[in-house]
Assembly symmetry: D2
Homo-oligomer: 140 residues x 4
Amino acid sequence: MPSKAEIVELLAREFPHDQCVVEAVGDRSATVSHAIGPAQLRPGNTVSGPLLMAVADVALYVAILGTIGLVPLAVTTSLTINFLKRPASAYPIKGVCRLMKVGRVLVVGEVALYSSSSEDMIAHAVGTYSLPPTRPRKTE
Amino acid sequence: MPSKAEIVELLAREFPHDQCVVEAVGDRSATVSHAIGPAQLRPGNTVSGPLLMAVADVALYVAILGTIGLVPLAVTTSLTINFLKRPASAYPIKGVCRLMKVGRVLVVGEVALYSSSSEDMIAHAVGTYSLPPTRPRKTE
Amino acid sequence: MPSKAEIVELLAREFPHDQCVVEAVGDRSATVSHAIGPAQLRPGNTVSGPLLMAVADVALYVAILGTIGLVPLAVTTSLTINFLKRPASAYPIKGVCRLMKVGRVLVVGEVALYSSSSEDMIAHAVGTYSLPPTRPRKTE
Amino acid sequence: MPSKAEIVELLAREFPHDQCVVEAVGDRSATVSHAIGPAQLRPGNTVSGPLLMAVADVALYVAILGTIGLVPLAVTTSLTINFLKRPASAYPIKGVCRLMKVGRVLVVGEVALYSSSSEDMIAHAVGTYSLPPTRPRKTE
């Protein structure tokens, strides 16, 4: 399986504008974080919803790369996010992903999102990626 | 109900970094669009998923403002998006929102997302906003 | 494409306990209904949520069969339902499905659910089916 | 908080046709199970999707009752389910719920669904309940 450095390099090539930091990659899991600046804030000094969705999406992608290898053509097919708690604005957002199914065609995972100021989950996402059809078959 | 100009002004104050353009606002409906530049592109010359989520989120918010008035504290509580088709990169993204429920506490709407190059829906989102509790009660 | 009678026959074989009635089948669309008896009611004389989910699931399946042919191994991979309005108890539930994507591997559709007493949508579902891999390839 | 016996009694009154068994109730958590008979089976000897949705819905409701007290008017507002693995038909379905947010108006929880034959999750649901407005306010 690819190293964390190889995954970071692929992300930098694929998403040169993305500012997520890969904190950890494991088998069927990943942790990423994202610093918060003025562009990510909303009135009331909270973090924008789309930023949380973006962090969830990247966390899923990193966990998939760490589990099945460097598959640049995996694409998100669906994402459901529930916002649980208003995040504090001054702290980075952390996304902790756990894959629940790694099939031949579909991968399903969940992401718990935290504001680094607190242990409380601020949002929870479930996402599905589809894998490119040319990938060699693996037993599910 | 607020005019389109009043909604545009509120968005500019609340989301100074957002680049969505309000195309139309109606009762329980709204259309917004977003130009595509290098920062919104992904490898394969397609548009990033989080941008589509952001357009869906803004379309819902604009439809809510146009339906219940300028409520700056409405917040997204959940969003589910399904990606249907790879968008062409050179064209703006359009989000067409229709509210399905406007309750005292919860608003639910759907957003059809299009790449302006085509009539085909590229993504579909369903989102829920919760309204601030101090709003005067209306009959549902 | 199969006739409505052929689809009804397949459903009767596959789901002998299901009581959904196929009202109409079209290209990428279907309408089904379900009568309401004591077992489907909840306190407050409303219809149980799981029944609405079941009607949505069958409406999607019927629309898929009517669009791609009699594929008995299509399986639901996800379903998201939003409950919008309390249905009246005495009336059948109607589910109106429209497919939004018919791919080689995934089909995505939405279902509007109605209580036959009213024009108002009582629930809205979005579901995904995956198709068996042995199906001959079609251009998406 | 109510005892398990009080919750079982409320369920029996509210859902006399439901066959879920309450296995455990805790603070922000619950485990329920459902036996499988011919009416819950689908071709290929698997369990029907709507049954899994029903088990998820009941698991959420039991966790809510165990956490905030016997609130008969809590209603499901949304449910998202991902089907991960085909369950074995001969075994009961188990739903393990954990609440992620218990607010004044909305409760959000996730449910892991298992076939009792295996440790593997067969489906994962996230659901939202809304609480009746007359409930005394609690600090979130």
